[in-house]
């Protein structure tokens, strides 16, 4: 952790994510009430009215409230989708890596199938056929992104299985299940975890894109729908799209910087051990 904060990427990334997290958690305190209800006059520009620091949209809804509650949605969906993708990927990757033979081949063909279809299109197809509730959106995004962690986990398992310490564990009579979970899995995790940061970023973007296209949950505030709503007044009130757009960009940047810093911190560890 301390090593992470020594890298410039780690510090900036961590700071951005901390702001995001606080915004999401503190949303009900900073902006009590439903962000989707009409709060004041329509199309107020930012920094003109102290009650609405970031202005209001075409229907008079508070932009700041939308931003804060949108942060919650982005975080919640992003994290939930990434977590599901990781867990599914880890399970399938471990199973393929250990089983070998036909089971490995079969599982890898399934992984291939999911990797070939572009993640966004898969999510789009899934949501448009099944529905627009938040759990469905989470599943849709996870389906598009679990294949990469699966492949990486399998590669890690295959490499680690050949190491002397796994042979040692077999020689002392350790049960294969114990070898899998105590010797192999903890050592297979680090690169897969590093991948998780990118998955979170992708999940957040996909969620925003889905709600931009009108396929998000209409009952909650999301950055994507805010950007969509601002399209019709893009010339006169560009701030309506730009502000949530900037928030989205900052969030993705923060996640990427954080994962860079994490990679450096972990990579450093590996190099020093030589």
């Amino acid at each position: 952790m301390s090593r992470l904060l020594r890298t410039p990427e780690g510090v900036i990334g961590f700071a951005i994510l901390l702001v995001l997290l606080s915004a999401g958690l503190l949303a009900p305190i900073l902006s009590p009430g439903d962000p989707l209800k009409i709060a004041g006059r329509a199309l107020l520009t930012p920094f003109t009215d102290p009650a609405f620091p970031l202005g209001t949209d075409r229907l008079g809804r508070d932009v700041l409230a939308g931003l804060l509650y949108g942060a919650r949605t982005s975080l919640a969906v992003g994290l939930a989708a990434a977590f599901s993708a990781m867990v599914l990927g880890l399970c399938v990757g471990m199973a393929a890596g250990f089983a070998g033979g036909l089971v490995d081949e079969a599982l890898m063909r399934v992984v291939d199938a999911f990797q070939i279809v572009p993640a966004f299109l898969l999510a789009l197809a899934f949501v448009s056929t099944i529905g627009v509730s938040t759990p469905i959106i989470v599943i849709a995004i996870a389906l598009g992104t679990w294949a990469d962690p699966a492949r990486l986990t399998r590669a890690q398992v295959l490499a680690i299985r050949e190491q002397d310490y796994v042979a040692s564990a077999r020689v002392i009579g350790m049960h294969p299940a114990e070898i899998a979970f105590r010797e192999i899995l903890p050592n297979a995790l680090p690169p897969v975890l590093a991948l998780s940061a990118t998955i979170v970023a992708g999940a957040i973007l996909t969620e925003a894109a889905l709600s931009f296209l009108g396929l998000g949950n209409p009952n909650i505030a999301t950055w994507g729908s805010m950007i969509a709503e601002g399209r019709s007044v893009l010339r006169s009130a560009s701030y309506l799209s730009v502000i949530p757009g900037a928030a989205l960009a900052m969030t993705v940047l923060g996640v990427h910087l954080f994962s860079e810093g994490l990679g450096k911190a972990l990579g450093d560890n590996g190099a020093r051990a030589a």
Binding site: D164, Y165, A169, R170, V171, I172, G173, N187
Partner: protein, 260 residues
């Protein structure tokens, strides 16, 4: 009559490499008596590592038999095999790669004690301390991560782990090759001591005849998957009969005070 602890008969193993079949082991036979050390020497590619991996059941043989402690060793599988593994242990060449990178010394020593029920949970720390002292380390090494120890210290932990289950046979595969010269002698002395004290038989595998000579009662020489010579250590070294043995004897570096 000395008991035969281990008897390997006509062991063979082949690998397919680019369409051709290569015999890594070709009808290898050898015996080890209880409490004796058999040194197995050969150049790289002679099959020594393949033999040790088949012996430790990490690899399957194509043909042949192994009798260990009077039972058919190759016929065992699953849980019965895991139980019997307590009697045959191994020390690997690379003291860094032989341990889980995340492990501490006490975790490493706890595993065999726990798996084979050698000591009850509350007695294990005491047993671990005893093991550490036996191999020349101290009890306060227990809490340290294995990665933080020196090569020689790690190899001592590896030996401690191997003797934790009180095996009757210890296989050492190039166990001192990766260690500094000044450390090597001490580890070899430790092994000889342990054998005297606990009567463990050893299969000491190396490409370095000088090291093997130091600790073995008998020596077997391997070349291209076959055993080409066996005999008492002193005899093999003084009067090598096979080409392979002669090459190994000639290749041992000697201190030369006056180079030409």
């Amino acid at each position: 009559m000395i008991d035969t602890l281990l008897s390997i008969e006509d062991l063979s193993k082949g690998f397919s490499s680019s369409g051709r079949r290569v015999a890594a082991l070709d009808n290898v036979s050898l015996t080890i008596a209880a409490g004796e050390t058999l040194g197995l020497v050969g150049a790289s590619g002679s099959g020594k590592s393949t033999l040790s991996r088949i012996l430790l059941r990490l690899l399957a043989a194509d043909a042949g038999s192994i009798r260990f402690e009077g039972a058919d060793w190759l016929a065992l599988d699953g849980a019965p095999l895991r139980r019997r593994r307590a009697h045959m242990q191994m020390v690997f060449q690379d003291p860094l790669a032989a341990f889980n990178p995340l492990a501490t010394v006490s975790a490493v020593l706890d595993d065999p004690l726990r798996i084979h029920g050698i000591a009850a949970k509350n007695q294990r720390p005491g047993e671990i301390a005893t093991l550490l002292e036996r191999v020349g380390l101290t009890a306060d090494h227990a809490a340290r991560p294995v990665r933080s120890l020196s090569g020689g210290q790690r190899q001592r932990v590896a030996i401690a782990r191997a003797i934790a289950t009180r095996p009757s046979l210890l296989v050492l595969d190039e166990a001192v090759s990766a260690l500094d010269v000044t450390v090597r002698g001490r580890i070899l002395e430790l092994l000889v001591d342990l054998q005297k004290e606990q009567g463990i038989a050893c299969l000491f595998i190396s490409h370095d005849l000088a090291v093997v000579r130091a600790v073995s009662h008998r020596i077997a020489v391997m070349d291209s998957g076959r055993i080409v010579e066996t005999g008492p250590a002193a005899a093999v070294v003084a009067a090598p009969q096979s080409d392979a043995a002669r090459a190994l004897v000639a290749a041992v570096p000697r201190l030369v005070t006056d180079p030409i």
